[in-house]
């Protein structure tokens, strides 16, 4: 299963390192990644490959908890919804 993970928050040292370590620990493979500063906020988007047997809810909870610790908003959504909205 592929999912889009977005990370938004105040820019600081180590966000990419922290998030990618967390993903690696959950065996989530980063397939694509981009990062920018938008309206003063650090914004990162990445496409992650989840293991076949991954428990989506548990992954989501772990990322939310990690986000709260780090003062970041982290969302994870299955990738198909982004295509469905705007592609024919």
């Amino acid at each position: 299963m592929q999912a889009i993970i977005t990370v938004v928050g105040q820019d600081k040292v180590g966000i990419v390192a922290g998030v990618s370590s967390k993903l690696a620990a959950m065996h989530i493979n980063i397939l694509d990644i981009s990062q920018t500063i938008m309206e003063g906020s650090f914004t990162m988007m990445l496409l992650g490959g989840l293991p076949e047997d991954a428990d989506f809810k548990a992954v989501q909870q772990a990322l939310t908890d990690f986000g709260t610790q780090q003062d970041l908003t982290i969302r994870i959504q299955r990738q198909e919804i982004f295509d469905a909205m705007s592609s024919l």
């Binding site: 889009i4 694509d32 914004t43 496409l47 959504q77 919804i81 469905a84 909205m85 705007s86």
Partner: protein
């Protein structure tokens, strides 16, 4: 990975309140008819519990995985008046009770279909059901009812109009919030997923999933970005936005149907407001340039909105159905509440607006001492608009007991609050007392 697409989608959901307003499972109950209403009620309970066992769970899973809020999980059923079978004295309250039990056990918000379709005539069972509504809808919490009293093909059943004026009064008297569970229709549709008017028509299949999308905030934001646009551009902007919103409805409905192992039926492309800031249909009209909803130009603005929503949405979904348009409930729309409280919008202006949108006089609070014949007159006026224009119209009126014009009625949650609005005080009594049937309009004879 297209960044802009991702940013746009997340913004629509998190800031502009795009959501799936409802996933509604339609369930036919025709195979539950036994001829003994008590036994039928039990079979109904069992069938609903079986068919919808995983409805809430699946909706929650989709919400979690795709990050799109699914606000309501609902069930629509075969109009209950059709389930009497050979029972000569059906006590439909038994069915209402079991429907409520099932809704609570399953965790669904509402179950719609305590209904009768009487546009041509009323069977004894149907009259029985209509007259049981004040009791049935006040003793239950999650059961919604509706009565279709007219259609373009059949004309208007004025006997039913008369009965329903009294039923609305009696139901309101049991508690004003009970009356929001009852809708009186002309040209009711059989696949409407929205409450309180949802029922599952007899021409539908056994079980299927329908979705109703929302998203007035998304349309309003898109229009706010083009303040100088002419009307052609305004319509284009609405169409493009409606397309995206409807794609979401189609996408979510298909996944839900797949996971529940039932067919996917229709997407209802309605813009449904809530009282939350930024989730208002009235605000869309104001963004087009009106000082307040109700200002001259309001009906034109609503007409173009309603039409552009359909045009944008229709290509986005495989099958479009339900009511599909813009809703203008007073109590459920933050800006509409303010305009009504400030006297910028009246019952008469609302009536004009219902000629060009779905659906009708919706969630309108009126004084508790309004005569039943005046309520019937309001039903007849709305139904006439629907009958002549071959569209759905409806009335969901709340005759707030003991209230005066200007009092604020609180419904709570997404049902919001509504100022009690003035009704013309001249009598309709003699008109309504005639009874009988208004024939179908000439343009219905197309065969």
């Amino acid at each position: 990975m297209e960044q802009q697409k991702i940013i746009d989608t997340i913004q629509m959901i998190s800031e502009e309140k795009l959501d799936i307003r409802t996933i509604t499972m339609g369930i036919s109950l025709l195979d539950c008819i036994t001829g003994d209403t008590r036994a039928t009620a039990e079979r109904i309970y069992e069938k609903i519990m079986h068919k919808a066992a995983h409805l809430v769970q699946v909706a929650d899973e989709i919400e979690t995985e795709y990050g799109i809020p699914i606000v309501n999980k609902r069930i629509s059923i075969t109009p209950v008046a059709m389930l009497a079978g050979a029972d000569p004295h059906p006590d439909f309250r038994l069915i209402a009770r079991r429907l409520d039990d099932a809704a609570k056990a399953l965790g669904v918000d509402f179950i719609g279909g305590y209904s009768a379709t009487v546009q041509s005539g009323i069977t004894p069972a149907e009259e029985n059901l209509m007259r049981s509504m004040p009791e049935a809808l006040s003793m239950t919490d999650r059961v919604c009812g509706s009565v279709n009293i007219g259609s373009t093909k059949a004309g208007m059943n004025m006997d039913a109009v008369k009965i329903m004026g009294q039923v609305i009064k009696d139901l309101s008297a049991t508690g004003a919030t009970n009356a929001m569970k009852l809708v009186v229709f002309c040209n009711a549709v059989e696949d409407n997923p929205f409450m309180a008017g949802a029922f599952w028509g007899v021409s539908e299949g056994d079980t299927a999933i329908n979705t109703g999308v929302s998203g007035p905030g998304v349309v309003q934001r898109a229009l706010a970005q083009v303040p100088e646009a002419d009307f052609a551009q305004v319509c284009e902007t609405i169409k493009q936005t409606a397309f995206k919103v409807s794609r979401m409805g189609q996408f979510v409905g298909k996944i839900a149907a797949e996971r529940l192992h039932v067919p996917f039926n229709i997407v209802d492309l309605s813009l449904a407001p809530t009282p939350a800031p930024g989730d208002s249909v009235a605000e869309i009209l104001e963004t087009m340039g009106l000082g307040s909803v109700g200002a001259p130009g309001t009906t034109a603005a609503l007409a173009l909105l309603n039409d552009a929503v359909k045009k944008g949405g229709i290509m986005a979904a495989e099958r479009v159905g339900g009511l599909s348009g813009a809703f203008i409930p007073v109590s459920e729309d933050g800006r509409m509440i303010e305009a009504a409280a400030a006297g910028q919008i009246t019952v008469e202006k609302l009536e004009a607006m219902t000629a060009v949108c779905s659906v009708g006089l919706d969630m309108v609070a009126i004084p508790g001492d309004t005569p039943a014949s005046s309520v019937s007159g309001m039903i007849a006026d709305e139904a006439a608009i629907g009958m002549i224009n071959a569209k759905t119209t409806a009335v969901r009126l709340i005759a707030v007991p003991g209230s005066q014009v200007g009092d604020m009625m609180e419904f709570g949650g997404i049902f919001g609050r509504a100022p009690v609005m003035a009704v013309n005080s001249a009598s309709s009594a003699q008109f309504i007392a005639r009874g009988g049937h208004i024939p179908a309009p000439i343009h219905s004879f197309k065969n």
